[in-house]
């Protein structure tokens, strides 16, 4: 299993899902290959079960070089066309999958030559030529490219170097590759599959390319930076989709995106997330508390939530909003901007950032309403947890949310402060309706979104791909 900035080093929905899957399927031996930024925080947050082991680590943006095996005669000859080939195949609108694989496999075969290839004068010249070719492409769907400057080109050159370095890291012998995001996590798997013919399963929680475009669209970056980051994500996703033997989105909404992005519908099998729900429930406590659990991240649109809180507090005096969760790593500035907005809106009276919690179930149980204002989601575990505790949910209509909350929650459009606030105020002022929706959610989780069903789906799929018949 390859992960990207998640399991076992960081908390979050994808990490929880990995933990559930690995812990729940002991009939498989799991080898984890995490990809992460090269800092010192190497300690794993999740304790791995005996049938799982971390078998290496791909560190990006670090100073470290590939480990040298002194007894092995290495091929150090640089290939000056490497950066140019990578930029053509990854950034071109119709980039060549075969060209990409050829370049990535070359990196795996000559890990010590990658740095030399990128530091050569000829490599940089060829890269610039290839980038100009990409910018000169004409395709009706691609739109006109922006102008790039030398700094943006150099930044892309550096990013592509790290893609090459990620490809160069050896992968262990395995029967099946399970990639947990259609981005960087796919790189080592692409090479492994090309070299050994191993089958590859891709699970997407959100749609990688969609989230990359959303992040770029909302960032204050220049057009050039937006163009490069979103194009690169698209290139990586296209390669991951092309290589995957099976794609397992967590919701039908993601499957629709994947079909739209060109994935063969025959390859797609939706396996919904599941949760280990308690056997009984309690009704909401009636304390006028609205709770949200999740990372502080632009994708969660916390700023809309703050505006919702202000509007609801006008309609329902005494209401309190609690946001449980830390900022996503790298989004600390967004978190500070949210706190600043809370001050500007005068929301400090009714809205509080609570930080991390070790008891998300208790936090949700203590709420009258669970709120989520995301602009992008797959199938959020936080909603399943709220339903498992029989709490009514107001959540924006993104990703798999409308599908999950069918008949047991309020689903306003994303970013619509008035509609979201109306949903929350309605539930707070109508406890019977709130309790009724909560009970329906509880029943729905027990009927459809069980941990057992989720694990069974993966057990079957992994067994099929590995060519073994699994006992239920």
């Amino acid at each position: 299993m390859t992960t990207e900035g998640t399991y076992p080093h960081a908390m979050g929905g994808v990490s929880s899902w990995c933990d559930l899957l690995i812990g729940g399927l002991p009939e498989f031996d799991w080898q984890i290959l995490p990809i992460r930024a090269g800092d010192r925080s190497h300690s794993a947050i999740f304790e791995l079960p005996p049938h799982a082991a971390v078998v290496g680590q791909i560190e990006l943006w670090s100073e470290q070089l590939p480990r040298r095996r002194w007894m092995v005669r290495a091929d150090h000859r640089a290939r000056e066309s490497l950066p140019a080939n990578l930029v053509r195949s990854l950034m071109g609108w119709e980039g060549s999958y075969d060209g990409l694989l050829d370049a990535l496999v070359w990196c795996r075969m000559r890990p010590h030559a990658v740095r030399r290839a990128f530091r050569g004068a000829g490599a940089w010249e060829a890269f610039l030529g290839a980038l100009e070719e990409v910018l000169g492409e004409s395709h009706p769907d691609a739109g006109p490219p922006p102008q790039l400057d030398a700094v943006e080109a150099a930044r892309l050159y550096q990013t592509i170097y790290w893609i090459a370095r990620a490809a160069a890291v050896p992968t262990p012998q395995t029967d099946l590759l399970h990639v947990t995001a259609a981005g960087w996590a796919a790189i080592p798997a692409l090479v492994h599959k090309q070299l050994h013919g191993t089958d590859m399963l891709l699970t997407e929680h959100g749609v990688y390319v969609r989230e990359a475009y959303l992040a770029a669209a909302r960032s204050p970056s220049s057009q050039g930076e937006r163009f490069l980051s979103s194009r690169l994500a698209r290139g990586l996703s296209r390669a991951a989709y092309a290589a995957a033997d099976s794609v397992a989105p967590v919701t039908e909404a993601n499957a629709a995106w994947e079909r739209g992005l060109g994935v063969d519908p025959q390859k797609i099998r939706v396996i919904q997330n599941g949760i280990d729900a308690p056997p009984s429930y309690t009704d909401p406590p009636g304390n006028l508390k609205v709770v949200s659990v999740g990372r502080i991240d632009p994708l969660k649109d916390v700023q809309t939530m703050l505006r919702v809180a202000v509007e609801v507090s006008r309609r329902v005096p005494g209401v309190r909003f609690e946001y449980w969760g830390p900022p996503t790593k790298g989004q600390e500035a967004y978190a500070r901007a949210c706190e600043e907005l809370a001050r500007r809106l005068g929301a400090e009276e009714c809205f509080q950032f609570m930080g991390s919690t070790r008891d998300p179930h208790g936090v949700v149980r203590d709420a009258d309403v669970v709120l989520m204002t995301s602009i992008s989601e797959g199938l959020p575990m936080s909603i399943l947890e709220a339903m498992a505790q029989a709490r009514p949910v107001v959540a924006t209509a993104v990703g798999g949310v409308p599908e999950v909350l069918r008949g047991c929650g309020i689903v306003p459009p994303p970013g619509d402060v008035h509609a979201i606030a109306t949903g929350v105020a309605t539930l707070l002022s109508n406890p019977e309706l709130a309790a009724h929706l909560g009970r329906r959610g509880f029943a729905r989780v027990h009927r459809i979104y069980t941990q057992k069903a989720c694990l069974a789906g993966y057990r079957d799929l992994l067994g099929e791909l590995a060519g073994v018949e699994m006992a239920a």
Binding site: G38, D39, R40, S62, E63, Q64, L65, F118, R119, G120, A121, A123, W124, E125, F127, L128, L131, P140, D141, A142, G143, P144, P145, P146, L148, D149, A150, V151, A153, A154, R155, Y157, Q158, Y161, V209, R210, Y213, A216, A217, P220, S221, S222, Q223, G224, E225, R226, F227, S230, R234, A253, A256, W257, R259, G260, I375, S376, V398, P413, P414, G415
Partner: protein, 439 residues
């Protein structure tokens, strides 16, 4: 929700982004996230709302972070002056107490070792933003063991070994103290030792106390330095290369016997002062490199990104640093020469020229190393030492002027290191992409 039409879709995108969509995917993503349009429909609508014209160009935002810190620079400079003057003042009383030969041999061993350790520690730890935290994280005990591994063999080399060992510990410890912002107390400690030596206190116990104080201070500096950081330390391999370069440069300083370390009293150390201060200012200017090179390239089109630019930011900063080094060295050397009669005859011009050349080759080699051309840097430093040793031992056994071999060695080093560096710096785009951002 009703399926919106083409105009509605374009309106949603314009309202949300304040511009047209970049491509079909961005249009679809925006329509789904904020327009409530389902994925399939959003993708088909997206292709109809991609604008035909490219967006108006805006330059990229630049967020660069300089490695290490630049505050407390004045106190560091003052401390450096105090340290050099103090060490220069030690020479007389020390040679009287321990003997000229012992002092000379101690310096000849200690200088290369000190520079090797300083370059290695700087490469792996101190050049980083949270350098002391990196050092603390790498287990203080391990670092102490490393230092012991150097110190213990030195202690066995009697009679000059213990003295050399103490010099190494005092000078390397000083680097750590300066990084912590404790350069002034360090300088005052050295001045205190001068007063003690001049008062005829026994040299060894005095230096032992000083060594212990500096080492305890260094450990305290590391432990109480920066808060915990996730920033990783540099590569061990790179630190070893840096250490080798430092050792070669140290070898260059002591490889010419005509300099008379420990023989001519305070003179060589005093003659070193102008060039050290020159390098200090030049090196301070070079800190801008990481920030100024990308800043200078902002807005440069792709076609110009690989063109030669003699006046580019990289070349400008390098030449600025050289100018500062040479300027300060020349002016201060003149000043020291002017007061020669009060400093026991520090009037040998060739030594000032030699040390100035050492500072120059050190700076060039330093830039090469910081751009991760360590092999070339070591080759240049090694060529300098080899030339110096050849000249002093074979060609000019009786040097016409003191420091002649040193000058010859450093000139060879400059000739070896400078042309490739200039070729590189002439293309700032290439430097940024292939050297600064890929190490």
């Amino acid at each position: 929700m009703e399926s919106p039409g083409h105009q509605y879709a374009a309106g949603v995108i314009e309202a949300r982004l304040g511009r047209g969509a970049q491509d079909v995917l961005e249009a679809a993503v925006v329509l789904e996230a904020w327009g409530g349009v389902r994925a399939g429909r959003a993708l088909s609508l997206g292709s109809r709302v991609v604008p035909p014209k490219p967006p108006r160009w805006t330059p990229g935002r630049l967020t660069t972070e300089e490695p290490g810190r630049r505050d407390g620079i004045l106190s560091e400079a003052v401390a450096l002056i105090m340290a050099i003057l103090a060490v220069a003042s030690w020479a007389g009383p020390l040679s009287r107490q321990v003997g000229t030969s012992s002092l000379q041999q101690a310096i000849v061993i200690a200088l290369p070792l000190t520079l090797a350790l300083q370059w290695a520690i700087r490469s792996r730890y101190l050049s980083r933003r949270s350098g002391l935290a990196c050092l603390a994280h790498d287990r203080l005990a391990l670092c102490a063991l490393g230092l012991l591994a150097i110190e213990v063999p030195l202690m066995l080399l009697r009679p000059y070994g213990p003295l050399a060992g103490m010099f190494v510990a005092i000078w390397v410890g000083g680097t750590v103290l300066a990084r912590r912002g404790w350069a002034l107390p360090y300088g005052l400690l050295l001045v205190g030792a001068v007063i003690g030596l001049e008062a005829e206190l026994p040299a060894y116990p005095l230096l032992e106390v000083l060594t212990a104080t500096v080492l305890i201070g260094s450990v305290t500096a590391i432990r109480t330095g920066e808060e915990h950081s996730n920033e990783p330390a540099g590569r061990v391999g790179r630190a070893l290369w840096a250490g080798a370069i430092g050792a070669a440069l140290g070898g260059l300083l002591v490889g010419d016997p005509s300099l008379g370390w420990g023989v001519h009293g305070a003179f060589p150390a005093l003659a070193l002062l102008p060039s050290v201060l020159g390098s200090f200012w030049g090196g301070y200017h070079l800190w801008k490199f990481y920030d100024a090179v990308p800043r200078g390239l902002q807005g440069t089109s792709l076609t110009q990104a690989n063109q030669r630019n003699h006046r580019g930011a990289a070349m400008g900063i390098f030449l600025g640093a050289i100018l500062r080094l040479v300027g300060v060295t020349v002016v201060l050397s003149g000043a020291v020469l002017l007061i020669a009669e009060w400093t026991s005859g520090t009037n040998r011009l060739s030594l000032f020229v030699g040390f100035g050349c050492v500072a120059l080759v050190t700076m060039i080699v330093n830039v090469l190393e910081s751009l991760a051309y360590a092999r070339w840097a070591l080759f240049a430093a090694g060529a300098s030492v080899a030339t110096e040793l050849t000249v002093s031992n074979v060609v000019l056994v009786h040097a016409p002027v003191p420091g002649a071999a040193l000058i010859a060695g450093t000139l060879v080093g400059i000739l070896v290191a400078l042309p490739p560096l200039l070729m590189l710096l002439m293309r700032p785009g290439r430097v940024l992409a292939t050297s600064l951002w890929i190490q």
